[in-house]
């Protein structure tokens, strides 16, 4: 038992680890993320630009320094050559000893034919000067330019300090060789140092970019993962899931928060739509099934038991009437479904007062025919931006109901501007009314209150009127109407936004 329990725990732990591993972005997938690529692109651009700048600084500094150094070295060399030719090696040697002691920015070496240093102020040269060929005949001179930064002074206290210099080696008569160079000075050292600093800096920038890019990409891809986990769950059929949101003290959020909010509101809407279409499907099935059943049994009955031609004729006529009623219900349900799915309709500005007067005129005979009193109290010039035919349908539905359910008394249609941009249209009757606790129910689709079941109708009129009101950012309210004969009456009010 204990073992089994342990194993179960282990499996749980394992699956948790696997899960958390699964959602951890892999390195390669991170390297492919947009944020990482952006970070790397900017790092690359920045480093490239820095290197270019560096190259420019270096090249221009070194060029100026080299030009000066070359000129100085040539001038000095020509002086020393004169001394060499006129005074011989001994004279030259003396001059070099003298100059080496005083000139701090010049480098001198005089080498014997055997390759030993006779005089000068450096003890290390980047190359072995004794190996350089000397001319065959004593009259020839041969100059070899030598550039380097490996010259080491042996003068003063800064022994062994390496300097950069440019100079010329002159292979002279009798196997002697003279090297004269000019120190490139602190400018060169500075340039060298800048180069190394920038090199290092660029590398550091690159390294930081990689780390930073990785970090940013990981954060971003975590957010993306959250979102894609949500969408995957939705695709798998779970419409109730929402992407996790964060709350900030400052109130705002980044683009991911916006995306998350948008995704969530989209899911809210989708869920509502799916639910509503499910309900509509169910309702259609429910509401059409009963008349279809009735239709079917009537037809079956007729085909089995009709004795005369007239019986058969009557059954067929009844069936057609039944079918027409089904079509009317179907149309109403479809219109309701479209409205609830957000297909608002055709909004235009029109004179509502005029439309209501026309409607009153259309219905007035039906009301008086039933022995009821009809009154209309419509404020003039009520302008509204709405779908006229939908609104008309809504009010017609309410009128139909009022006529149907009012046995005696009066029906009154009124319309007024209740507040700025708020229009109230109401139909009052003196029928039995609807008890307060039944009112919400009455507005529901296909609900027919007990008293109404025996009358023809589909139970969709009021819910369609309500959906139409909602499509006009309004609402439908039920309240008591005109009391009469023991009934409290019903007042149906459409409170609509004029949309202007």
């Amino acid at each position: 038992m204990w073992v089994v329990n342990f194993r179960a725990k282990f499996e749980k732990l394992k699956s948790w680890v696997m899960d958390s591993w699964k959602f951890r972005p892999s390195l390669t997938s991170l390297l492919q993320t947009t944020s990482f690529k952006v970070a790397m692109t900017f790092a690359g651009l920045f480093s490239g630009f820095a290197l270019l700048l560096l190259l420019f600084i270096y090249a221009s500094t070194v060029w100026i320094l080299s030009y000066d150094a070359d000129r100085g070295a040539r001038r000095e060399l020509s002086e020393l050559t004169d001394i060499w030719f006129n005074g011989g090696v001994n004279n030259l040697n003396r001059t070099i000893i003298q100059r080496a002691a005083t000139n701090s920015d010049s480098l001198y070496v005089l080498i014997t034919p055997q390759g030993t240093v006779l005089s000068g102020n450096i003890d290390a040269v980047p190359m072995d000067l004794s190996k350089i060929d000397r001319p065959e005949t004593s009259d020839d001179l041969r100059s070899v330019p030598i550039i380097g930064r490996g010259f080491t002074y042996f003068r003063g206290d800064d022994v062994r300090r390496q300097r950069g210099a440019r100079g010329v080696f002159l292979a002279g008569p009798d196997g002697y060789g003279l090297f004269v160079a000019k120190d490139l000075g602190p400018g060169f050292v500075l340039a060298e140092r800048i180069v190394s600093v920038v090199w290092f800096g660029s590398l550091a920038v690159l390294a930081f970019s990689v780390i930073g890019g990785y970090w940013v990409a990981r954060g971003a891809s975590r957010r993306v993962d959250e979102l894609s986990r949500t969408t995957e769950a939705v695709m798998a059929g779970n419409l109730a899931i929402r992407a996790p949101t964060r709350t900030y003290k400052s109130g705002g959020g980044d683009e991911f928060d916006r995306l998350t909010q948008d995704l969530n509101s989209m899911l809210d809407r989708t869920e509502k739509l799916v639910q509503s279409s499910r309900t509509i499907g169910d309702s259609i099935a429910h509401d059409l099934r009963s008349p279809l059943t009735r239709l079917r049994s009537n037809l079956e009955n007729a085909s089995l038991h009709a004795k005369t031609e007239e019986d058969l004729q009557l059954s067929i006529e009844n069936a057609i009437a039944e079918l027409d009623a089904i079509v009317v219900t179907f149309n109403a349900v479809l219109r309701l479904a479209r409205l609830e799915a957000g297909e608002g309709g055709n909004f235009k500005i029109f004179d509502l007062s005029e439309t209501l007067l026309e409607l009153a005129e259309l219905y007035e005979p039906s009301v008086t025919e039933k022995g009821l009193e009809f009154a209309s109290n419509i404020a003039p010039n009520l302008m509204m931006k709405a779908d006229k035919s939908l609104l008309f349908q809504a009010i017609a539905n309410i009128m139909d109901n009022a006529i149907k359910y009012t046995p005696t008394g009066k029906i009154e249609v009124s319309a007024k501007l209740a507040a700025a941009n708020k229009i109230e249209i109401s139909v009052q009757d003196s029928g039995p009314g609807i008890a307060a606790n039944d009112r919400d129910n009455a507005k529901k689709r296909f609900v027919r209150l007990d008293g109404a079941r025996s009358t023809p109708g589909n139970g969709i009129g009021l819910s369609l009127a309500q959906a139409i009101a909602e499509a006009h950012s309004g609402k439908l309210e039920l309240s008591d109407g005109m009391a009469n004969n023991g009934g409290v009456g019903l007042k149906v009010t459409l409170v609509l936004n004029s949309g202007l």
């Binding site: 026309e358 005979p365 039906s366 349908q393 149907k404």
Partner: protein, 223 residues
């Protein structure tokens, strides 16, 4: 009357043809848009009945093309799309009337007949006469057997429509659409009440009734 029926469902087209033939009209049936258009261009028809959605060429497109070429034979559109917007689309494309499915054969026949008898828009008649019933469109006075009848504006329009289509059956939906310009499903018989009021005015005190109820279908005004 020669009627062209363009409808791709064979059963439905047979049913339509039979209904129209029983009412005394000749019909010809086409099952796709192209065939329908070719027949319509032969100009042998008084009314064209087009389904909105047809194979090979859409019914709306066919009618648009016919109208563009100056062929003005009245067109009745039939459609499973019954919304007001669809209706407006159909009428914009050049249709003269629009009937959404399902419909009764009586409704179809009534609409086709009214379309076939469509009055010339240039007709400047200002006095409508039917038997001893007279209607002056300018002074808006109605008389029957020289007796003045007091009539309200809407009743006047209702009577005018009935007189212009005298002898024809007009359905309740047609009246609601043509006289009131409404497209909705009233659950109570609002039209019947208006008709019965009108009937009281034009028939009650006279020797024979002119406004007849056609059971299950609509009304007919006769001399």
């Amino acid at each position: 009357m020669q009627v062209l029926i363009v409808e791709d469902a064979v059963d439905t087209s047979k049913f339509m043809a039979r209904a129209l033939e029983e009412a005394g009209h000749q019909t010809q049936v086409a099952h796709n848009g192209v065939e329908g258009e070719n027949l319509a261009r032969s100009l042998n028809f008084d009314v064209l009945v087009f389904d909105r959605m047809l194979p090979l060429k859409d019914g709306m497109k066919v009618v648009e093309d016919l109208r563009a070429d100056g062929i003005n034979t009245p067109v009745l559109f039939l459609s499973a799309l019954g919304d007001v917007e669809h209706r407006i689309e159909g009428l914009k494309a050049g249709g003269d009337d629009y009937l959404s499915k399902p419909y009764s054969s009586a409704e179809l026949v009534a609409r086709v007949e009214v379309l076939g008898k469509r009055v010339d828009p240039d007709n400047r008649t200002t006095l409508l006469k039917l038997g001893d019933l007279e209607m002056d469109l300018i002074t808006r006075k109605v008389r029957r057997a020289s007796k003045k009848i007091d009539i309200q504006p809407r009743e006047f329009r209702l009577l005018e429509y009935l007189m212009r289509n005298a002898g024809q059956i007009v359905t309740r939906t047609m009246l609601l659409e043509k006289v009131w310009d409404y497209h909705f499903d009233p659950q109570t018989n609002v039209i019947d009440v208006h008709i019965s009021r009108l009937r009281t005015k034009i028939d009650k005190e006279f020797d024979h009734p002119m406004l007849h109820t056609v059971r299950g279908t609509g009304y007919r005004l006769e001399a």
